[in-house]
């Protein structure tokens, strides 16, 4: 491997790394992909149809598997063994989800694949807050089209022309499965409130698609998919990239440094083998960082040289800055009207079949916060878990037939409403290298700083109020204690696992680290193709946009390579 002449080294194999490898290898470039985690094959490792009773502790989450035993995540979660991170003293909480597996977080993600809208790319122009992107929706739209057609996205519907909620052109999406009982039910409340409910865009193949299997409408997507019916880098992007003969993948390779060569260009990277502890340097004509926003920033900040004493591309102190996440908050309700319905198979297509896009763009001044949130809504008669007793009130003590009847009656009668909202970047949210802490191999680790702004906490309070109104309209009651104060109701930083924006793109080297194609201003053959390049954090979940941006950037990079410009 060391002697191969690679055109490109790609660090990371998730959405950004997978997509860039897909396009660059198909463009004829020789690519070496370095993945920090182990090899992973969803075809043989996915626990399709396993029941909770087959798992230790009935599958509940533990520190070893925080999202439950069957969650696809390998060797990771909120903590990765031997790879600590630090949250600065005085910071609000921040947590960082990392897997260590081929395909990264695309193996377990929620498959919600919403496009950013036109307003999302120009937020500063609209309300004077945050920053504008150097590109517009129209620049990315063709790449959204291509991405949706490649990865398989459901949610086709007649165009609605809702503000900042793009309709995909005909032919991009497949139809969603019909709304389930709970989705029919909640829609009626939103209809009364004048709020639209529309098909979710989910990265699941729900119809005929060449070269892909169709969803089995069973078994949760978060486990991964053995038949490749949902989008994972490991089933959709890496196999065709491998088939070109141009892709070499090295796993357990934790990259920690970009190596500089003559004339200020990147000559390769250095990594530690997580299994052997050996350090290796590899070379290529160009380097793509797609390790995830945190790791990508960490690699740059740890790549110090006389030319870049504070980290590569960090002359203006911007690497690690503008760290963002989504605003998260949720309330669950229990609904007598949903009790006792005839048994129905509500397993569905993995993602929600419908959702509520943000509806308040024209009411921002009266709302007391800028930007907004969409609502992801879960319910139905899903496979029972250890939480079954939660269907009943806490002071309920029945046993025997009485207990059986109550559980049977309430099964499927709860609905959870979750807001996912935009965060405006602020000066208090960033990551840097901790001066003391190091990982197992002596590599300095990240220290995070976090503080939600008032726009976010006000938004969270609004979301809770909205959910309570919907629950009341539907004759239900909220379950558990509901926190109505925004600062208490809001999620922890990083908790939505949408951390983005540490190496943002912009117009020039004083306002950003990379250009609109992810090409760094300081090192012309060094590119960033993950969520780190994002300038704002719209309410729409970022993965589809990471994919589309990576494809657009990789296409530009392939053109530069052909021109000999790298």
């Amino acid at each position: 491997m060391a002697n191969d002449n690679y055109d490109v080294i790609i660090v990371g194999s998730g959405a950004g790394g997978g997509m860039s490898a897909y396009h660059l290898t198909k463009s004829g470039l020789k690519v070496l992909m370095l993945e920090a985690g182990r090899n992973y094959d969803p075809r043989v490792e996915t626990p399709m149809f396993n029941t909770n009773a087959e798992a230790p502790l009935r599958g509940v989450g533990t520190p070893d598997k925080p999202f439950g035993f069957y969650d696809a995540t390998v060797d990771g979660g909120w903590q990765v063994p031997n790879e600590p991170y630090v949250v600065a003293e005085g910071s609000e909480p921040f947590i960082w989800w990392r897997p260590r597996m081929l395909g990264g977080r695309t193996n377990h993600w929620g498959r919600i694949a919403l496009r950013f809208g036109p307003l999302d790319f120009k937020p500063y122009s609209r309300d004077g807050l945050g920053y504008d992107w150097p590109i517009s929706y129209d620049d990315l739209a063709p790449w959204y089209d291509k991405t949706e057609k490649l990865i398989g996205v459901s949610g086709a519907a007649p165009a609605r022309n809702l503000l900042n909620t793009p309709d995909s052109p005909d032919g991009c999406l497949m139809p969603s499965a019909p709304p389930r009982a709970f989705e029919i039910f909640y829609e009626r409340a939103f209809r009364k409130m004048g709020i639209p409910v529309i098909p979710m865009h989910g990265a699941v193949v729900t119809g005929q698609m060449e070269g892909r299997n169709t969803c089995l409408f069973a078994t949760p997507c978060g486990r991964g998919c053995a038949i490749g019916a949902n989008f994972q880098s490991t089933t959709v992007l890496l196999p065709p990239a491998m088939a070109t003969g141009n892709l070499t993948i090295t796993t357990n390779a934790l990259v920690y440094q970009v190596d500089l060569g003559k004339a200020g260009k990147a000559k390769g990277v250095t990594y530690v083998d997580r299994k052997t502890g050996e350090h290796h340097s590899v070379t290529a004509k160009s380097v793509v960082l797609a390790a995830g926003s945190g790791e990508t920033a960490r690699i740059l900040l740890n790549s110090k040289s006389s030319a870049f004493p504070n980290g590569l591309c960090n002359t203006h102190g911007m690497v690690g800055r503008y760290l963002m996440d989504s605003v998260g908050t949720g309330v669950t309700g229990q609904f007598p009207s949903m009790e006792g319905l005839p048994p129905t198979n509500d397993d569905g297509q993995g993602t929600q079949h419908t959702y509520v896009p943000w509806w308040g763009y024209e009411k921002q001044k009266e709302l007391g916060f800028a930007r907004g949130y969409h609502i992801e809504i879960g319910g139905g008669r899903h496979m029972p878990s250890m939480g079954m007793a939660g269907l009943l009130p806490d002071d309920e003590t029945s046993v025997g037939d009485d207990l059986r009847a109550k559980l049977r009656n309430r099964f499927g009668s709860t609905i959870g409403f979750d807001g996912r909202g935009e965060m405006i970047p602020n000066d208090d949210c960033y990551c840097e290298i901790d001066p003391v802490a190091k990982d197992k191999w002596g590599i300095p680790v990240l220290r995070f700083h976090w503080k939600w702004g008032e726009h976010e906490t006000n938004q969270a309070a609004h979301a809770v109020k909205t959910f309570l109104e919907v629950i009341d309209t539907l004759g239900g009651k909220p379950m558990g204690e509901v926190e109505t104060e925004g600062r208490k109701a809001i999620s922890k930083g990083g908790e939505m696992i949408h951390e983005i924006g540490t190496v943002r793109m912009g117009h020039n080297d004083t306002d950003s680290v990379v250009n609109q194609y992810g090409q760094s201003w300081a090192v012309p053959n060094l590119f960033v193709m993950d969520g780190a390049v994002m300038v704002s954090s719209p309410d729409k979940n970022p993965t589809l946009s990471i994919l589309a941006l990576a494809w657009r950037s990789a296409d530009n990079m392939a053109t530069l390579a052909k021109q000999g410009a790298l």
Binding site: E45, T46, P47, M48, F49, T51, N52, A53, A55, P56, L57, G59, V60, T62, P63, D64, K65, F69, V74, G76, A177, P178, P179, R180, A181, I184, F185, R188, A189, T214, L216, F217, A218, S337, P342, P343, T344, N345, D347, Q349, R381, H382, M383, P384, S385, M386, G387, M388, A389, T397, V399, G400, L403, R404, L407, R408, F411, T473, L474, G475
Partner: protein, 210 residues
């Protein structure tokens, strides 16, 4: 005692049983496929979890040693069957191995389960004296008293044990049948809810003024 409940016999599989025998040196195989096991005697107990990369498609049994003693297991069986006794086609909790699951839970080396451990074990110890040697009337009275208890420790034990029993029961195939879960089957399409379900929803919408 003629009215004593049948002694609880663990429902763990033989392979696991043999593994445990190897580990704890205290279990005794009882015929094929079932085992009665006792407290740890000799050998080091296994306290590790399943790790961050367990095999998911065919999960191995939780690796940690079990800590419940026979009296606690027998009491757990009585209490689990008080919460969910057999009813029609639905089996009693003990026949689904719920006491073994309680043992797996309280023995686990994870924070939540370790937090539950003293609650469950102390509760079982307190209850065992009242149910194991009592006659049917005494046993019934003790269980009823626990169900209606108002002192914080008993209430906490009751809620926790009941919650674990319900969760463990309804995550089994028998539990699926009892509660009406009909998913986890491969389908070529998702047709959505039946006309019957839609009609029921419409009736509810009328009541709600929607």
């Amino acid at each position: 005692m003629s009215d004593a409940p049948e002694p609880y016999v663990s429902k763990i599989d033989r392979r696991t049983a043999l593994a445990w025998i190897g580990v704890v040196g205290a279990a005794a195989a009882v015929g094929a496929g079932v085992v009665v096991y006792g407290p740890i005697k000799g050998g080091e107990p296994v306290r590790r979890g399943y790790g961050t990369d367990p095999k998911l498609t065919k999960p191995e049994k939780a690796p940690w040693s079990r800590i419940m003693v026979p009296a606690q297991l027998q009491t757990a069986a009585i209490l689990a069957d008080f919460i969910l006794p057999a009813s029609g086609a639905a089996p009693a909790a003990s026949t689904l191995g719920i006491p073994d699951f309680i043992d797996e839970w309280v023995s686990a080396p994870y924070p939540d389960q370790m937090g539950d451990r003293p609650v469950i074990l102390n509760g079982l110890n307190a209850l065992s004296a009242k149910v194991l040697k009592a006659d049917a009337t005494g046993r019934s009275a003790a269980l009823k008293a626990l169900q209606e208890s108002t002192d914080p420790a008993s209430q906490k034990f009751w809620k926790k044990f009941r919650k674990l029993t319900i969760g463990a029961y309804y995550t089994t195939d028998a539990g699926f049948k009892d509660i009406g879960y009909i998913g986890n089957v491969s389908r070529t399409s998702d047709p959505g809810p039946s006309p019957e379900v839609k009609a029921a929803l419409e009736r509810e919408f009328q009541k709600l003024g929607l």
